[in-house]
């Protein structure tokens, strides 16, 4: 049992570190007095930086070489992330594309799609967004209603709405899950599409949240025309293709638990600065409990990594680490606000921002409830709840739901 790099890993780390030292002056500055402020400038600078990281081999570390990646393993990806963090420079802008959507296209896409899209995605020339969730399809993702209809000329017409779409406001493409056949059970009638975000009929609207900022978007599709070759992974195979994306999402969560910045030393700093609070038994008890769980997540990710090196894919239990992080950070925000009082809720306070952001994060990537269902069934082997939608054509579900209510 050790946490050390192997000689090859140490050599790789040194290589990455050296590259970052050489190129750090070119990285966009996002914090401090010289930080960029204009949203468009930030995005442009981060896209350019992603291109440099890609040229240096620091993006798409696990992608196959033929698609511009390094063909390395998850451990090298983690080393790369650690060194980027250590150098205090931004990582890639399009982590959703490079981390989840690109690998999905690599697994299921046609050769022409890989040739056309992967290079510009990796270099940040074309940013991607994930168009899966809908207002009535989140936990029950297979309930998507965005409808794509095949036309006589082999093209598709798409109508519907997506939500919680990060980066949609500047994305070039989206990977979209749509219903193509409503007369079969819901998991069977789905198809995955590549959608150009500048197509006629696509409308992106920012979705403001508790913080007042728009972290996500709603995206509307009004009779959008898609070419026949926009289908990824075959018509009717959308659910299997989506599961690949969700698997990569778990890998991202499993390896990046600390990447959210909810670090116990950061929380302790807020407490340590207050002489009374740092000696208060109740405050210390709360801090100790929160910090112990957040520390655990770090070692859970090392365990996940150990498994990945042996070729084990993280299972749904990786979602429990997310539950721990989010709930731990919520408790920490509460504790810090209790200590600081209303001062913690000032307009530009980092704590006010965190406190506002977390209630939404609780549902991101799967609500806590659906995560616990999945873990209970797949990991503990508990029986699923009886469901009313099995084997029923999607088009008949609505009336069944009405009858059951």
């Amino acid at each position: 049992m050790d946490l050390d790099d192997s000689p090859q890993q140490a050599a790789y780390r040194a290589e990455v570190r050296a590259w970052l030292e050489r190129h750090k002056p070119e990285a966009p500055v996002l914090q401090g007095p010289d930080a960029l402020e204009n949203e468009d400038e930030i995005v442009a600078a981060r896209r350019a930086w992603q291109g440099k990281l890609a040229e240096g081999g620091l993006a798409g570390v696990t992608w196959p070489k033929e698609y511009g990646g390094q063909g390395l393993g998850p451990i090298e990806q983690v080393i790369c992330n650690q060194e980027i963090g250590r150098a205090k420079v931004p990582g890639i802008l399009d982590s959703i594309g490079v981390g989840m959507l690109g690998p999905t296209i690599i697994a299921h896409g046609a050769e022409e799609q890989k040739t056309r899209y992967l290079g510009p995605m990796l270099h940040g020339d074309e940013v991607w967004c994930q168009l899966f969730s809908e207002p009535a399809a989140g936990s029950d993702l297979a309930a998507v209603q965005a409808r794509a209809r095949l036309q006589d000329d082999g093209s598709w017409r798409l109508t519907g709405q997506k939500v919680w779409t990060t980066n949609a406001q500047f994305a070039s493409y989206g990977l979209l899950l749509a219903r193509t056949d409503a007369d079969v059970p819901k998991h069977k009638g789905l198809t995955m599409f590549i959608v150009p975000m500048d197509a006629a009929g696509v409308t992106v609207r920012g979705l403001r949240q508790i913080s007042g900022e728009a972290e996500f978007n709603e995206v509307f599709f009004d009779d959008v025309s898609l070419d026949g070759d926009a289908v990824v992974g075959g018509v009717g195979n959308g659910w299997g293709t989506a599961l690949t994306t969700l698997m990569y999402e778990r890998v991202t969560i499993g390896l990046g638990g600390e990447g959210l910045g909810y670090d116990s030393v950061r929380f302790a700093s807020a407490i340590a600065a207050d002489e009374r609070a740092r000696r208060d038994h109740e405050v210390r008890r709360q801090l100790g409990e929160i910090a112990s769980e957040l520390l655990a997540v770090r070692f859970t990710s090392y365990r996940t990594l150990t498994g990945l090196q042996k070729g084990q894919i993280p299972g749904p239990e990786a979602g429990l680490a997310k539950v721990t992080i989010v709930n731990g950070a919520i408790r920490a925000g509460d504790l810090i606000a209790d200590v600081l009082g209303p001062a913690a809720l000032a307009k530009d306070s980092e704590w006010a921002y965190m406190i506002s952001f977390l209630p939404g994060l609780k549902s991101a990537g799967g609500t806590e409830e659906i995560l616990r269902n999945t873990v209970g069934e797949r990991v503990l082997g508990l029986p699923p709840e009886p469901r009313l939608d099995k084997g029923i054509p999607f088009s008949e579900l609505r009336s069944k739901e009405g009858a059951a209510a």
């Binding site: 210390r284 112990s292 520390l295 070692f299 721990t324 503990l380």
Partner: protein
């Protein structure tokens, strides 16, 4: 990066599970609660055969020369079946002696288990309790650490030790007591032979969980050997015992969860298994969440003792904090998932519940460990 168990560690764990399965530990645990005269099965010979008493003793002194994580694997197996084997007291005592040049002569007999030691738990200073201190016999205020005076007229390592230590694990029947005393206000390691010694009284006490051997130790000018262990080893023993009881607790959580999941699959209400209801499913995944967090921290503590000694206090305290709460929650969930039957004497759940209630309050208690995590982080934050 490798947090996988080695083949040897897997073997150690499987061998422990096999050896312990030869005893009806749960039946004994229940019977011991019913009958004050009932003697728990003596599992020490089994422990000796397996080499567990010498786990943390260097090979040069007859031990296995293994590390905390290996010992934690064995304690985890003991925790699974509530086996009462006096390793919690013995292992930290051997760790102090193993770090003392003048303690070496005692190690041979301790490694084979021919002689048995118990650790006198004294916690190192922290931000709130600024002195070395011992668990009190009752209440929140910590008790004074024992004191030592050099035996008059000798330049050697002889001393006399006085003090009171409450709820010392595995003290009854131990041949040797090893711990920390204050000599002119400075912490020193002390070893006290129990047999034929004057000024040593060990009163066996049973509290709530009869599988747990405890003793109140009273020392009155007890003859002792001053050990030349470094101060780090004296503090290290406290954190080691935290890591060991954490590992033992996580083992108990495993059984509590497995038993509860099996029952939730088997028991039906309103025409379906109770495990299919979200309320039950979610409370069991909460047990799993805490179990996995605890297990991850066992890896942290097991690695840190040698890999990053400056982090061992934080790692072991965090493991204890999470494991203590995990066992409390797992035992309560075990009782409630089983419904009324889970709260009856026939069921094993009350035995795990009793184990949880007592474990949580021993060795400074989960609360002390949690406070220490806060202290370590506040110190880190202040230094940054």
């Amino acid at each position: 990066m490798n947090l996988a168990l080695s083949d040897e560690q897997v073997f150690l764990r499987e061998a422990a599970r096999g050896a312990l399965s030869r005893f009806k530990t749960l039946e004994a645990a229940r019977q011991a609660l019913d009958d004050d005269e009932f003697a728990l099965p003596d599992m020490w010979p089994t422990a000796c055969e397996a080499g567990w008493p010498g786990l943390l003793i260097d090979e040069a002194h007859g031990g296995a020369g293994l590390d905390a994580f290996d010992a934690m694997l064995v304690l985890g197996e003991c925790g699974r079946v509530l086996a009462g084997i006096p390793l919690l007291g013995h292992l930290p005592a051997t760790a102090i002696l193993n770090d003392s040049a003048n303690g070496a002569s005692l190690l041979g007999a301790l490694a084979t288990g021919e002689s048995r030691a118990a650790y006198l738990p004294v916690s190192p200073p922290g931000e709130v309790d600024e002195h070395w201190s011992a668990d009190p016999s009752s209440g929140l205020a910590r008790a004074a650490a024992p004191t030592a005076v050099r035996t008059a007229g000798t330049e050697g390592d002889g001393a006399r030790v006085s003090g009171e230590l409450a709820f010392v694990p595995d003290a009854p029947g131990a041949d040797l007591l090893v711990g920390v005393a204050l000599l002119d206000g400075r912490p020193v390691g002390v070893a006290i032979e129990v047999q034929n010694a004057s000024g040593v009284a060990v009163e066996a006490v049973t509290r709530y969980d009869a599988t747990r051997s405890l003793g109140h130790v009273s020392l009155t000018d007890a003859p002792a050997t001053l050990l030349d262990a470094p101060e780090a080893a004296l503090a290290g023993a406290w954190y080691l015992v935290q890591a060991l009881i954490a590992a033992e607790s996580i083992g108990s959580v495993e059984t509590a969860l497995e038993t509860s999941v099996a029952y939730a699959n088997e028991r039906h209400t309103f025409g379906r298994a109770i495990g299919s209801y979200q309320a039950v499913k979610h409370s069991l995944t909460e047990v799993l969440r805490q179990l996995e967090n605890g297990r991850s921290l066992l890896y942290y503590a097991g690695w840190a003792r040698v890999g990053a000694p400056e982090e061992f206090p934080l790692a072991a305290s965090a493991a204890r904090s999470v494991a203590g709460r995990a066992l409390d929650h797992a035992a309560r969930t075990m009782v409630s998932v089983h419904g009324g039957i889970g709260a009856t004497w026939e069921h094993d759940a009350p035995l795990y519940f009793r184990r949880a209630q007592l474990s949580r309050r021993l060795l400074g208690g989960t609360a002390n460990a949690t406070d220490r995590v806060a202290g370590e982080l506040i110190a880190q934050a202040s230094a940054a």
